[in-house]
Symmetry: C2
Subunit: 111 residues, 2 copies
DNA sequence: TTTTAGTACTTTGCAATACATAGTACTAAA
DNA sequence: TTTAGTACTATGTATTGCAAAGTACTAAAA
């Protein structure tokens, strides 16, 4: 059990949720997303983000458009779809339930 | 993307954490643990719990003792070790960080 | 012009893990 | 001596995060 990894484990189930939260604020391209997540205290490597974006796009929760960049290759700007918004609401509800459950487990003491 | 599963995904990274939280309250055998978790809103099937308990025990975060039962086969009563307590503190810190991160992502709006 | 560096997207393969399922074993009651 | 209820164990698989290597574009340096 390596301690460094405990936060990473917890984060894993929240990856899609966090991506959708970021894109809920407006369209962004992958480096933007990674920066936003890092800024909030969550690290997500490229090798994780890109496949996830592709999966979310295939499920029609996200869409994207190409935009030329003067600083390198063109960028894929992703944005959340209406279907994605609906799913985000579900995830928000799930997140609340999880928080409540953990909170309950933390606070209760044996009778 | 099946909606029924979104909560399950989020829960996955918290399994060990929740088991340790339950045992922090006092020793319990697997059926107790499953009942406690269910009572808090988390379902954990046997096929998940037993291997996890074995892993945590091998890492010396848990220990157990056998106790005879009049209602069937003997039970394995698990309890948390000092090492487990320390690890639980780490997990609590990680959990706080995750909550803060998600909260930040939820509340921020694009400038 | 060619090379190098920086940025961005893509693909591949592996290791870890949750968990469904089936199996073993014990007790008590029918 | 079956049957049912409870408890622990073992096996096999599908998913998934992610490291790492690869491709492609632009701009600046040599």
């Amino acid at each position: 059990m390596n301690i460094e990894n405990s936060k990473a484990q917890m984060r894993k189930g929240l990856l899609e949720f966090c991506i959708l939260l970021v894109l809920h604020r407006g369209e962004a391209y992958p480096s933007d997303i990674i920066a936003s997540l890092k800024n909030s205290g969550l690290d997500m490597p490229e090798g994780t983000l890109y496949p996830l974006l592709t999966r979310l796009k295939n499920e029609e929760l996200l869409t994207y458009r190409w935009e030329e960049s003067t600083m390198g290759p063109p960028r894929k700007y992703f944005s959340i779809t209406e279907k994605g918004q609906e799913f985000l609401r579900v995830l928000n509800a799930s997140w609340s339930e999880i928080q409540t459950a953990v909170s309950t487990l933390s606070q209760s003491s044996k009778p």
